[in-house]
């Protein structure tokens, strides 16, 4: 049996940041289902919000974030995010991040949506990538032990305390139990629950679903962010930086339609506002070919596009066949980010003893009902670092939790039957690809940018039907190395659990707030709904309860842009 005082699951920005902060203080290891440099953090383009200039202020960053969150973000956590930000950016600078610079040599900053100030530190439009690789270099320097292509299957709990995890080693097709004093989840989001998503294939919500099954609370899962600008068809992300650098949105009539929806901010309104505006334009017949609008950078000039948005340019040329320096890009909104996740406090502690979480898998909650661009990258490094510091402070002094041999044996028996033994199910005509596609179609069509009670009720019923079908699916059998079919089968199970919670939460919330927009309840309703949604697992399925929002400095007011 392998033992690590702190087991970090996920090798993206939050996971590596946690590992760095544990390293040297306690024994830590990073487990990841991909190689750490292949984590989805690397796909983030825009930047890291942090107050660096004398004209800007922490208070302004806090206010923009609170307002952007439609007053559902916890102000105590947002204060931490914004206050820790500048220090962490400078730490990253000293680790070697090649930030883009201003003329005076300081770290340059650009405007992203919903911010009252150019506040995002960036490296062209490779911001996530360069920081991910810099942190990986630091992990090499510190000799952090990594287990690449090891999949977390189950968190082991006895008497309410986490004592380890069951792992599937993809290359060697075998199970392993890792004992740990603390587990830090940093596994990212669940974008693949949606047909139209900017997320990569690995984003299947594993950490959220596994933590939930182990007894952790998920919160605010009905809040799903749809990125306004993804390439039409492939949904490859076109960074908000494209609008931050001055890009225009135009409908088929050539109009800059954001003037109708957010005259004060235009294209730099928050994502929920822009995504709804684009959908409305398309729905009302002002889209190109009825399906998409244009993101126009042609007026910015070739030099700016090449210097500030090189990746955007490459992606558009390759996947849409247009050079955005010369021709507008066809774009549509798609699922992008999960505001909800495993409920934590500002140190990454969940309600389940020994379990911690940071990054997109977690809900602290700094994004509330809608996240501002540039705040999620900041969240990963700020709260990844804090979770690491806390784990390093606690773990060395903690006794090794007792190993419940019955719990281990039961879990291993179960996973052995599933992963390594021939399938007990009879061959059916159904397959996991069909189930996944139907789930993702339901989520995009009925649990998307615009929601109604009728459609959500239907979605919940159909997702329940899919869960029944899932139980009868033939399991791709092993043992064989690199059994991606088996991993996909397990991931579909995670996505189905989360989809149901998202849809049920959205059906229950009879108001519109941030990214959650109900056509049948178009107003925000602070009297009844200014609270978090907590989802707990029970034998009967998910149960929901309400939790208070931390409001310290800024009282809720109407949110206009």
């Amino acid at each position: 049996m392998i033992m690590h005082e702190v087991l970090i699951v996920g090798g993206g920005l939050a996971g590596l940041m946690a590992a760095m902060n544990v390293s040297g203080k306690a024994d830590a290891a990073v487990l990841s289902k991909v190689y750490p440099t292949r984590s989805h953090s690397g796909a983030a383009q825009g930047g890291f919000n942090a107050v660096m200039g004398e004209d800007d202020s922490i208070e302004a960053h806090v206010f923009d974030t609170v307002k952007g969150s439609d007053y559902l973000g916890d102000q105590e956590a947002i204060e931490v995010l914004c206050s820790d930000g500048p220090r962490v950016i400078l730490d990253l600078e000293r680790m070697g991040v090649p930030w883009t610079r201003a003329e005076d040599g300081r770290i340059a900053q650009r405007s992203l949506g919903g911010a009252g100030f150019p506040r995002a530190c960036f490296a062209a439009d490779f911001s996530g990538h360069v920081v991910l690789h810099t942190l990986y270099e630091q992990a090499l320097k510190r000799g952090v032990k990594t287990y690449p292509e090891w999949h977390l299957l189950e968190i082991l709990v006895d008497k309410g305390r986490v004592f380890g995890a069951v792992i599937y080693d993809l290359a060697r097709a075998r199970l392993e139990v890792i004992r740990a004093k603390r587990i830090v989840l940093a596994t990212g989001g669940y974008g693949r629950a949606f047909l139209k998503t900017t997320n990569g294939h690995a984003n299947t919500g594993d950490g959220m679903a596994i933590a939930y099954r182990a007894g952790a609370v998920l919160s605010d899962m009905e809040f799903v962010q749809f990125h306004p600008t993804t390439l039409y068809g492939t949904n490859i992300l076109i960074s908000e930086a494209a609008r931050g650098e001055g890009g225009y949105l135009r409908n088929a009539l050539g109009e800059r339609f954001m003037a109708e929806y957010a005259p004060g901010k235009m294209e730099l309104a928050p994502r929920d506002v822009v995504a709804r505006a684009i959908f409305k334009e398309i729905k009302e017949g002002r889209g190109f070919e009825g399906h998409y609008v244009h993101l126009d950078l042609t007026h910015l000039g070739e030099r700016l596009v090449a210097e500030r948005l090189p990746q955007v340019r490459d992606l558009a040329i390759r996947y849409s066949g247009v050079d955005p320096a010369r021709v507008p890009m066809p774009i549509e909104p798609a699922q992008h980010y999960s505001m909800g996740g495993v409920r934590t406090d500002v140190w990454g502690m969940t309600g389940l003893e020994g379990l911690m979480a940071a990054g997109e898998v977690a809900n602290v909650s700094v994004h509330g009902a809608n996240r501002l661009g540039g705040n999620s990258l900041l969240e990963t490094v700020v709260f990844g670092a804090r979770a690491g510091r806390k784990a390093a402070e606690l773990a060395p002094g903690e006794p090794w939790p007792d190993v419940s041999s019955n719990t281990v044996k039961d879990a291993l028996d179960r996973w052995n039957r599933l992963c390594l033994a021939p399938s007990a199910h009879s061959r059916s005509d159904d397959d996991q690809f069909a189930v996944r596609r139907e789930m993702a179609t339901i989520m995009t069509n009925q649990v998307g940018v615009f929601r109604t009670g009728v459609e959500l009720e239907d979605a919940v019923a159909r997702l329940e039907g899919l869960r029944k079908r899932y139980r009868d699916l033939p399991v791709p059998v092993g043992p064989q190395p690199f059994n991606y079919g088996l991993m996909d089968y397990i991931e579909v199970g995670h996505l189905l659990d989360l989809s149901e919670i998202i849809a049920r939460g959205a059906l229950a919330r009879r108001e519109s707030r941030g990214a959650h927009y109900r056509l049948d309840f178009p107003q925000r309703d602070d009297r009844n709904w200014l609270h978090h949604t907590f989802a707990h697992t029970t034998d009967r399925g998910p149960e929901f309860s309400a939790g208070p929002v931390s409001i310290t400095r800024f009282q809720p007011q109407e949110r206009g842009y």
Partner: protein
């Protein structure tokens, strides 16, 4: 369009050598080789290949397409399909084959350590850097560690191009205490490095360009 794929298969438990399996998949011309592989996977769930971001930033899906190492997610089918010929997809060469299109990456990631691939901060660094210098660091920092360069290079076993890119990027970083000394520490003849830098943009899926002025500084 219907396209024939010839995909290399290898099961370490059963096969002594790789063999080809033919798949017929329906793809749009603007779809990628990765999309075609995903179609084939739906026909045979036992087919193993890595993928993740599908937008050429993670490096997972590096394979050999029609004999040339490339990223599957970055290669459009319309470019891969020659008149009437099937598209052949094989694992990266110069790597140990583990299963189907999956190769052993451990030695590749291990090889990075040889160049001390992290910044060693100069004590007198004042926190500022000119935009021009910063820009010169940005481009080499876009290396995604996909391994295509390693597979495409005849001398890769001794050179390890991905490590060299990291070393050359750190060598020009004004924050780094070793700086241009890193060139000498590489113990690679400067002519070899010059040739490497010249050939890199054509071999690298990200088209990484390193200007060779840093090499001059390394030898003086």
């Amino acid at each position: 369009m219907d396209v024939v794929l010839k995909i290399s298969r290898f099961d370490p438990g059963m096969d002594t050598a790789p063999r080809f399996q033919r798949f017929v998949v329906g793809v749009e011309p603007n779809q990628t080789v990765l999309d075609a592989l995903l179609c084939a996977w739906r026909q045979d769930i036992g087919l193993s290949f890595r993928r993740s971001c599908r937008s050429a930033i993670c490096g997972s899906c590096a394979v050999r397409i029609n004999g040339r190492p490339a990223l599957a997610c970055q290669t459009l089918m319309e470019k891969a399909v020659a008149e009437g010929e099937p598209v052949t997809i094989e694992p990266l060469p110069h790597f140990k084959l583990l299963k189907d299109l999956v190769v052993d990456l451990e030695p590749f990631f291990e090889s990075l350590k040889a160049v001390v691939p992290w910044l060693i901060l100069r004590e007198d660094y004042g926190g500022r850097m000119s935009p021009e210098v910063a820009r010169s660091l940005e481009h080499p920092a876009t290396c995604i560690l996909c391994g295509v360069c390693e597979a495409d290079s005849e001398t890769s076993e001794t050179l390890h191009p991905a490590g060299l890119v990291k070393a050359l990027r750190l060598a020009r970083d004004p924050r780094d205490a070793l700086g241009a000394h890193r060139i000498r520490l590489l113990q690679v003849p400067v002519e070899v490095l010059r040739l490497f830098v010249r050939e890199l943009p054509d071999k690298c899926p990200k088209g990484i360009e390193i200007t060779d002025d840093i090499l001059r500084r390394g030898v003086t």
